[in-house]
Structures are given as C-alpha cells and as structure tokens.
C-alpha cells in the first residue's frame, strides 16, 4: 500500500521566523507562530470574494509610534489574549478597513495583543509608514512589517533583520524584493525632475506602482526622454494624451498651496494613472514624471516572434521595447500577473 508523504512549508517558515525575530531583537514564541500564520493567510487573502493587500505592523510601543508618525490616526478595533489566534482575528477584523492608506497594527503588550488600524500624514506625498518605521527605522523603535508585495509573494521586513521574501509561486526564490526593480524604473521616470521635488514624486510613484502590483494585473510601461516633443513612431499605436498628466507640477502646486483642491487633483491623477497601467498595452512616461500615452501596442519584429520565451504576448512586447532602448526609449518595465518584475 502506498504511503502518504506530507509536505509542509510550515517548519521552513517557522525556522526563518525565529531567525528573523532574533535578528530584530523581538523574540517571542507566540509572535513566531503568529508570523507564520499571517504569512500563510496573506498569500490569497480575500474577504467577501475581494482580494485584500493589507500591511501589518507589529510593534511594542504605541506612544512612540504615534509620535514619530505626524498627523497619525489610530483606530483600535480590539484586544485579546496573547495568542496566534488573536493575531489572525486582528487580520480578519481589520483587513476590510485598510483601503485608503490604512494599515493594520498589532501591539504586543505584556499579556495581550491589541490591534487596530492606523494611517499617517495628510496627502499621498507624505512619507509612508513603512519608510518611517522600517526602511529608515531605528533600534529605539522596533517594528515588523508583513505584507503581500505581489501575487503569491510575501515580504517580511524589520529595522535590523534581513528581510524575508517568501514566494508561494513556481518561480525561483529571488534574493531581491520586486520593489527594488520597481524603484529602479521609478528612478528612470524621475531622472529629469528637479532635486527639490524628486523625493515627493518618488513617494507618489512608489505608492502608485505598489497599488498596481497588488491589484495583480500585469502591466507594461516605458520611459522616453523628457525632451522628446513627439512619441517615437513605434509607440504611436495607442492613446496619446492631448494634454499630458504632469504629476510633478501637481505635486509642486500641492506643496505651494497646501489646499484641498490641489490634493484632490493629485489623488485624481493617482487613480487615473493606476487605471491606465491596468489597461492592456504600454503606459508611456517621460523622464520628467509625466504620462503621455497609454494602451499603446507595438509590433513584434520577426526576431522577437522567433524568440523562445516562457511568457506570452506581454513578455514579447517587453523584449520588443527593451530592444528600442537607446533609440527613443530610456527604460522598459514589465510586471507579470504573478508579481515578477523586470526592468531594462
């Protein structure tokens, strides 16, 4: 009689979680179990059939977190015994509330876990929570972030520990977060932006690209030089915007006027560009942060058609526009449905 061999990735995840929490100086038997559960839950997290991509932060000190995040809003949802079940309840109760920049927090108290949602800043431009607590975080304020960065791809980050990129897909484990490739492409979009607006524009595009990534729709984009008055002929089969979307100008207006109208314009541009990037075809940016065209299609040359690629039409298009780098195009971006990101 054939026997059954159970295969579980749980021991592997648990081992990595223990090491991660150790490096982060946040050792806790319950947290290490809970972390594994949260990672597993986030892979295909849905509520009422809708995919959700919450960011979950775990920290030990509420007061300091509130202080380092100006204009932060905290909404406590509940508190329960210090168990992994409470961590899962936190996810279930809070995940539906995380639209519009809200994130989940789990506060580790002596005997309990308190949970709820929080957000910070006043506009899309504000420094993100992850940038503040994690990327530029400090030893004095320990925090962990767990989030899904793409379909079947979970990232666990801390202030000092090596980040974990956990892939539940068939692709080989990558040593890099897909967000690194994304940042490389965003830098190409912002190459010609004035230095005093670059950081704000980067915050905007990082949030935009993350949203597109989490929505799970593949996307293609490219950057052309800001000095080009017209689109390269090879990119002419698509919707060319009669009035380009000048994100950097809107950012500059918002910083100067600091009013609701300027903020509303920027938020409008955010959702508009997000929609364009989720449409079929290529979204074309200029290297000064403007959007000039979307839904653009290119003809695949013979050479590309003969190329053996495991991907479909999107991969071939990516190869085609990558071939054009140096002759009208400065950078090309491919995000496949499974979250794989390639930049040339």
């Amino acid at each position: 009689m054939k026997s059954i061999k159970p295969v579980s990735i749980r021991p592997l995840l648990l081992g990595e979680s223990v090491v991660f929490l150790g490096q982060e100086n946040m050792n806790c038997l319950i947290t290490q179990d809970g972390l594994v559960e949260l990672i597993s839950q986030l892979v295909y997290y849905k509520e009422e059939g809708k995919s959700l991509h919450p960011e979950i932060y775990i920290f030990d000190e509420m007061h300091m977190v509130q202080k380092v995040l100006p204009l932060s809003q905290f909404c406590t949802i509940g508190e329960g015994a210090k168990t992994k079940e409470t961590m899962l309840i936190a996810l279930k109760k809070c995940a539906p509330l995380t639209e519009g920049g809200w994130a989940i927090y789990i506060l580790r108290k002596v005997d309990t876990f308190q949970y709820g949602v929080f957000k910070a800043g006043s506009t899309i431009l504000s420094v993100s929570i992850s940038e503040t607590l994690i990327d530029a975080g400090t030893d004095e304020l320990k925090a962990i972030l767990i989030h899904q960065v793409a379909e079947r791809l979970i990232e666990v980050k801390g202030v000092t520990a090596d980040s974990l990129i956990i892939s539940f897909g068939s692709q080989d484990g990558s040593r890099k977060s897909p967000l690194e490739n994304q940042e490389k492409f965003i830098n190409a979009i912002l190459k010609d932006v004035k230095p005093d607006l670059k950081e704000q524009a980067k915050n905007f595009f990082k949030k935009l690209f993350l949203e597109v990534l989490q929505k799970g729709h593949g996307t293609l984009a490219c950057v052309i030089n800001s000095k080009k008055k017209e689109l390269p002929k090879k990119l002419s089969d698509g919707i060319t915007l009669p009035v380009k979307i000048d994100v950097v100008k809107t950012i500059s207006d918002l910083l100067e006027q600091n009013d609701l109208q300027a903020n509303s314009v920027l938020e409008g541009q955010f959702s508009l560009i997000s929609g364009m990037m989720q449409s079929d075809g290529i979204t074309v940016f200029k290297s000064n942060g403007t959007v000039v065209a979307y839904n653009v299609f290119v003809k695949h040359p013979e050479k590309v058609l003969k190329t053996s690629t495991s991907g479909g039409a999107r991969s071939r298009t990516f190869i085609t526009i990558s071939e054009l780098i140096g002759s009208g195009i400065e950078a090309a971006y491919l995000q496949s449905q499974d979250g794989n990101i390639e930049v040339n």
Binding site: V68, P70, L125, S126, V127, E131, T132, T138, E140, E256
Partner: protein, 443 residues
C-alpha cells in the same frame, strides 16, 4: 577683571559717524546709500522744519535697505529665522516682516551691532508714534528738530552710512560650513557655540532647520550629520518655543514627503527624546499665523488701528490655544496689552484682556518657566516706560505668588518678585539684564 563673552559671530560694523557731527548737511553727507538728490531733499525738508516727513523718509529708506539685504539671504531662511511658517517663496518680504523683526534678525546675524539695533528700535518707535493720524491736529504733538536729528543719525549710523550691509563674516562662514563639511567634536565652532549666549543657540537651530528644509544631496547629508551632533549638545538649554520649532519642522518634512530630511531630523528627536514637541495636528499652525499677523500690525505704522482685526480673529478661534502655538500667541497678546511707549490700541484691549483672563494657572506657569526668559520682544517691552507700567496691571498678586513657587530660573523669580512688589526700576533692570543675557543689545 572683566571677561569678554565668547560669541560665535559678531558684527564687524565700523564707526562711520564721528560723535561730534551734528550739522544736518554734514550728517547726511555720511549716508553712502543716499544719492545726492536724496541728500539735498533731506537737507531741504529738514531746513523747512518738515521733521516728520524727513524722519519717515529716511526711516523707510533704512528699513527697506535692511529688508532687501535680508531678502538676499533667501526667503525660506528668513522664514525659519523668524519661525514664521506663513512666509513662503511667494511672500513679499517688504510687507510680511515687521520693522521690529527686520532689526532683530539683522542684529542676530551680525548685520548691525547691538547698539545700532537699540538705536534703530528707538527711531522706529518715534516714527511710528508720530505717524498716528489723530496727532496731526495738535501742534504739541509735532516731532522736534532734535528728535528728527536723532532718527537721521540712527539711520545713517546703523544702515545708510555703509555702501553695503551684510551678515558678519563669521556668521557666513559658519552657515557655509554647516552644509559643506561634517563637524566633529573638536570643531572650534562647536566650542564657541556652546559658550555663546542664547540667541546664538536659537539662531543655530534655525539655520540648521532652514538648511535641512532646502538642501539636497551631499549638503543635506552634511547638515543632517551636523544637526545630529549640535542639537543634542544644546537641547537641554533650549526653551520650549525653539523645541517646538524643531518638532514642527519634523512634522512638515514628513507631511511634505521629504524622506531623507525627515528621517535625519527623526534621529535628532530620538536622541534628545524630543517627540513631545511634534505637534499632533495642524491646528497650531493657524494660531501661529494669526499671532504673527498681530505682531506685524503691532510693530507697524498705524498699529493702534491695525491691531484689533487680527486680535478679533484670534479671539474667535477659541479660548484654548494649542500648546505649540501658545508661546507666540502669548507674545502677541501681551505685546498688544502692554502697547508701546505711546499707549495702547484701545479697541483691541477688550478681546486681549478676555483671552489673557482665560489663561489657566498651569499655562501661566508654563509661560514664565519655558517662554519668557527667551522672549526678547517682551523683555524689550519691560525695559520701556509705558509698557513696563502696564505690566503691573496684568496680574493678580496671588496668581504671581502661586506661580513663583514653581519657577526655578533665578532671573524669572526676581522678575515676578519685582512685579508683585511694584518695583518699577528693578523690573526694568532685571528685564534689561535678561535681554542682554540672551545676547541682544551687546555691541
């Protein structure tokens, strides 16, 4: 033996006007910034006994010259120096900053000496007083020849006697080095700064914040490294208005998405445990804006007419002033309440008195403990006849007695004591001593 106080920078102003010059033609001849046409018009108007006209003219010329010089240093820098978040690149500096503020920064940056600042403030008060429209009908209220001559002399000695006025060399070098190099513990500027009077500490904080807000790349990195070295060394001696300025700057940088700058300032605040000074909301910014409008009206022309409108706005904003805005609001309200050497704005007194009556005991303790000792504007008022007289009517004796038990600063304790005892001369003398300790009024 007298010791010379260590200061980080000092005005290099040379004496341009000999003491004995008193003839108007000779006096005006020293005005290098005055064209020959200006000079002959001033002499003619003076000889025609149009003293008010000539005083206003030369005063406006001087203050505009000072403002122009300040404008060249960058509007964002000036906004930070004044702790005025309402001033931005689109602001007309000539209109936005008051005469008092222009003189104050000019002294702080070593553009003019402490003595020149003192003389210019006196000239400003005289010109402001005689510009009041209701004085015009009474011949007793006309400016005298001597008063006009003193104004002309102060303006030439302080500003117009120099072909070019600019910040002290040491100040410029210090500001440049803050963004060009990374200081270490042995840096001589650091040694001097720690021993310098308070306003150098305050100015250094403001220079650093201004550079952090405007710089990018390597200059930003140098500035942030220097802020991380310098601010913790002087933090414990800073009064709350300066601490709130650092906290508010962090909040602004965060909200505006300046990732690197906000991260650097966060390190500073973590080092000094200063996050209690980060405002929780933006309400305080509206109060700060109105308080500054009151102060601009207070030290401008026709102040008695211009004060009631912004005071009324502040009155309508509610009686509980957010704590980050409390110091500047108190400066504004007490300034209006004390008035100047010539009187007070009667129309503004009602609302100001109500607002001050609503200040709780705890807030008064806070004011005396954390604000007054570094409030050069109020200390200067307490040195003047008129405002210092009105100061005594501001408090109930039992309130001051309760407060003084919670104060540790010896000068502030004495100031309260002299107020309780009604000792006018002693009050002026302690205010003057505190003003000088801040670093002002020293030539």
């Amino acid at each position: 033996m007298e010791t010379t106080p260590v200061v980080l920078w000092k005005s290099s102003e040379l004496v341009v006007l000999p003491k004995k010059v008193s003839n108007i033609s000779e006096l005006v001849n020293f005005g290098q910034q005055l064209s020959s046409r200006d000079q002959s018009q001033i002499i003619k108007a003076f000889n025609d006994e149009s003293y008010e006209m000539v005083s206003s003219y030369i005063w406006t010329k001087s203050i505009n010259s000072l403002r122009n010089q300040l404008g060249k240093m960058g509007i964002s820098f000036i906004a930070e120096m004044l702790d005025r978040p309402d001033i931005n690149e689109h602001t007309n500096l000539q209109q936005a900053i008051s005469e008092f503020e222009a003189i104050r920064i000019a002294e702080e940056l070593g553009i003019i000496s402490g003595t020149s600042a003192f003389r210019l403030k006196k000239a400003m008060e005289t010109v402001t007083h005689f510009s009041q429209p209701e004085l015009e009908d009474d011949p007793d209220n006309e400016l005298t020849e001597e008063e006009a001559k003193t104004i002309i002399r102060s303006c030439i000695q302080g500003v117009l006697g120099y072909s070019k006025i600019e910040a002290a060399i040491d100040f410029k070098n210090f500001r440049d080095e803050l963004e060009q190099i990374t200081f270490n513990e042995e840096n001589p500027y650091l040694f001097k700064l720690i021993q310098s009077p308070y306003f150098f500490h305050r100015t250094t904080i403001r220079i650093l914040l201004s550079l952090i807000k405007t710089n990018n790349g390597a200059q930003l990195e140098n500035t942030l490294a220097n802020a991380n070295l310098i601010i913790p060394k002087i933090w414990s001696g800073l009064q709350h208005p300066e601490k709130y300025q650092v906290g508010r700057s962090y909040s602004e940088l965060f909200i505006d998405g300046k990732t690197k700058a906000s991260s650097g300032l966060r390190q500073v605040l973590l080092k000094v445990k200063g996050f209690d000074f980060v405002p929780e909301d933006l309400r305080s910014s509206s109060f700060i804006k109105i308080a500054n409008e009151i102060l601009v009206a207070h030290s401008g022309l026709n102040n008695f007419y211009n004060e009631p409108a912004p005071v009324n706005t502040l009155f309508k904003m509610g009686s509980v002033i957010p704590i980050p805005a409390f110091p500047i609001c108190m400066t504004a309200l007490i300034s209006v309440r004390l008035g100047n050497a010539w009187g007070v704005s009667n129309a503004a007194q009602g609302n100001v008195t109500t607002l001050l009556k609503n200040v709780s005991d705890d807030r008064w303790v806070y004011f005396f403990k954390e604000c007054l000792a570094s409030d050069e504007r109020l200390l200067y008022k307490l040195m003047q006849y008129g405002p210092s007289e009105r100061w005594f009517n501001l408090f109930q004796k039992d309130l001051l007695e309760r407060i003084s038990l919670q104060i540790t600063n010896r000068d502030v304790i004495n100031l309260i004591k002299f107020t309780i005892d009604g000792r006018k001369d002693k009050l002026k003398s302690i205010a003057s001593s505190m003003y000088e300790k801040l670093g002002y009024g020293n030539s």
